[in-house]
Subunit: 216 residues, 2 copies
């Protein structure tokens, strides 16, 4: 397998999504995979330098390089990795499309969890804006909570990129004032993810220093 | 080819994206395609009825049914149709992923154009929220404007699902107070799309009555 390089930041839930996938799939630790993580220091604006813009036209994290391809946008990266490696894909054609639907849905809805957290942690939005975002975030969490009440994972009995993408985007929810314990089925689902080999939280998984990291 | 059924609404830019794809690909008018459009009347809440929730778990439009599969979320529908029919796919592997990246990006950014329009047309957001959304919408339009200054379409020389998805989401921009003429390269790009055989605007393309529509 060709070298995988992931560009990201330890404060970015989007970067975590891709990194968590790789960790759960065991790819960075496989003897066949040469893996590099490269921190893009968002505080100092590395994402807007010409060097990084040559990787990512929008100047955001994460970006993946593999087999001479550059793949951008966290959900596209998850789809690419699932198709490419077979890990965490749906088992039937319908389930593979369902997993992609959940990723698209999370970008429309769980994004509000990330936006409220972003406002609390980095740059405050107007209180009236947060007053619109917060109930949308809570509604999105309630949708996930309800689905995983009757089935272990979002598309059925096993973990797919849908779970990794949705969990990854909501991982910093406590920083936005959302308590996992308020959604008991969601909390149990997160527990199932946390019990999987390779699982880690962002600050354990992603190096925080602005240097190249290579676990191989 | 098996029957294609699209569920949507003529006021929904997401429905338009799927419908425009089909029109540009000529699929509803192909002798091989049995096509139905079914209006989901959003005003009377048809999208939240048990019958429609059995099609679309989130109670939104559009939904596509084809070959016994149900495909939700407009950008997933575009990806599905491109993979399935070959129309408006990228030509190289990198371009196919790039087209999907643009769809993911439009859901993050051109969505603000749709949100401002939704507030103006259907249900007003707080003015402070719109004050945050409008510059983000304008920034997204500027990104597209800049890209199509140096190339005819978003991933290169030819139209892909990236163009159909980005244009489709911004089609009602005038209702949000965004004048196409303010972005001259974007306007020229829209002109290239409008010159393609099969192109139509939403109100010409999607039946407005709450009845089943079958052009075949």
């Amino acid at each position: 397998m060709d070298r995988l390089t992931l560009y990201g930041s330890f404060t970015s839930s989007s970067s975590y999504k891709a990194m968590l996938y790789l960790a759960l799939a065991g790819l960075p630790f496989s003897f066949r995979t040469a893996f590099s993580f490269r921190t893009v220091n968002l505080k100092t604006g590395v994402q807007k330098t010409p060097e990084y813009l040559a990787v990512n036209r929008w100047g955001v994290v994460p970006s993946l390089r593999h087999r001479g391809l550059t793949i951008l946008q966290s959900n596209v990266i998850l789809d690419y990795l699932a198709r490419e490696t077979g890990h965490f894909e749906g088992r039937t054609e319908q389930q593979r499309w369902q997993a992609r639907e959940w990723l698209s849905w999370e970008a429309d809805h769980i994004t509000y969890v990330a936006k409220v957290r972003h406002s609390a942690r980095f740059r405050a939005s107007h209180p009236e804006t947060i007053a619109e975002y917060r109930p949308r975030a809570e509604a999105a969490l309630a949708v996930v909570d309800k689905i995983v009440q009757s089935q272990p994972f979002l598309v059925g009995d096993y973990c797919t990129i849908a779970d990794i993408g949705c969990w990854g985007r909501m991982v910093f929810m406590a920083e936005g004032g959302f308590e996992l314990a308020n959604w008991s089925h969601l909390e149990a689902w997160a527990g199932r993810l946390k019990a999987m080999p390779g699982f880690a939280l962002p600050y354990e998984l992603i190096p925080s220093k602005d240097r190249e990291f290579d676990p191989v």
